[in-house]
Amino acid sequence: MEFGIQTRGDWSYVLAAARWAEDRGDLAAIGLPDHYLQRGEEPEKPAWDHLVHLAGLAVETSRIGLASIVSPVTFRHPAVLYKMAVTIDEISGGRFTLGLGAGWLEEEFTKFGLPFPDLKTRMAIYEEAMAYLRAAITPGARGFDGKHFQLDEFDPQPHPIGLRLMGGGVGGPKARRITALYADEYNLYARKPEEYRAVRESTRDLAVQLGRDPEEISWSSAGPGTAARKESDYRRLMEGMAELTGLSVDHIESRWEERGYPHGSGEKPAEMIAALEEAGCQRFYPQMFLSEDDPADFDLVLDALMGR
């Protein structure tokens, strides 16, 4: 299993996390989510633009992968996504993966006056945006003629160096289809291994039916980054999680157990990761969002997930 991390915060926090991640040497990527509102206890805290952060990180790092995990498709027109993505790709020398999804945090759309149509429409927009982006980043005059988006038949420049498209979503039929058609990577949120395997296999079958080599799609997952070798460290991290969410530790643990999110102390986190890997997951991004986090805690989590 490869590992990345997913985090967010203001620029100095994101920069420190990225430098730590790159210096660690064994992480494949740092991913940022795309939200315009903070969740949790402090909704009034500023939220930043993750693509702008990723462009800055492209300058400030030199080896680690950079990922958007994932951007709600109704925030930006796919032309803007294409141009930002190829620019970040160019600055980073081909280290960028752009993730898209349908969006779900309704409050951030309504507060900012951003469009938030019903889920069916958002999924249709998501599919068209992925088709548009694939047409735009593939050399040659492809064009795209959709209901929501149109791209003239010309060969847009610049061509990306290593830009990849990541699909989001919870693994429903539409998300599987979009992945099978357009994605280089599918980020399927953590779940029980048998469920992960079922989504993966059905997506791969669909890819074959649609004439695409399923090996072109890599499989990743993200989940809460709360794990440690030592029980006392794990308890401390869980208490931080309880404080952040306003839920009790017992409640959170039973929910994560039920959903299959890798967590815990001792050998358990690494065993859960191994089971996910066995189900076909190739990369895991633990989410570490606590603003109080210091890199020492990031190390605890990753070492536990890696079984070190």
């Binding site: 300058v59 803007v80 141009k83 620019t87 003239d152």
Partner: protein, 298 residues
Amino acid sequence: MTEPHLGGSYDQQLAAARWAEDEGLVSFARCDHYLSGGDPTPDATDAFAVLAGLARDTSDMRLCVLVTPITFRHPAVIAKNAATISQMSGGRLDLGVGTGWMDLEHEALGIPFPDWPERWERFEEALDYLDAAFADGPGRFDGRYYSLDADVGPNPEGLRIVIGGSGVRKTPTLAGKRADEYNFFICPAAEARSKIEVMRHAAGDRLVEATVMGPALVGRTDAEYRGRLETRAAKRGISPDDLEKRYVDGGIPVGNPGRAAETVAALEQAGVERIYVQWLDLDDLDSMKETVTIVRGG
């Protein structure tokens, strides 16, 4: 002022910005276009992604998007992009906003391009939206096209709003009322004076900087200037004298350093506080350096 939609990688823009910063220039500006006319070939980068990179790759100079069309991005995205770059640069971003005009790039990429009255209305609403988004405390705005109701920051420190356009009445009036900087395309000094008067009248006590953006065609010697004039005229398929007349009529600095200085002095007399020298060819930084240096009186 660079126009990297005509071609120019991030590294080329960075080279221009670093030179400008080392020379002590006030600002590096770039346009926000995705295509050049009907020609999709040049490597058009995204203005905000480039400025985010330059925020980290430069240290002192201001960074300016001149200007972003409100048709490309929802004002929520403009606000978040700008606030984020502002923080990453230590408050060095100047955010230029305009109605958008290049219909071809919108058509080619499928970006909606409403008629001018609607674009103007959206532009005014976007300014209200940005004010509300950047205000201390809860931001509220309820317009026909955009609405905001959020108690969230960020409230970027040091961010300045630039309103640009070539109009003689509406744009300077709006800039006077709303902008930190009013920018228009270079023009004869008398015309500049009257635009700035309109802007100052609308501004009242507000502090608004008056700036122009435009090309210059200059040389160290008359012979060098003449050579450049002939080259450029040949490219455009007109005679050198016709091109020179066009430039002179447009108030564009031409000629040897002495002659260019007169044009610049006249603009300054008319109230222009800053000239962004427009440079198109990022493959030829040597000529850019010489041109900017001469226009600055060096």
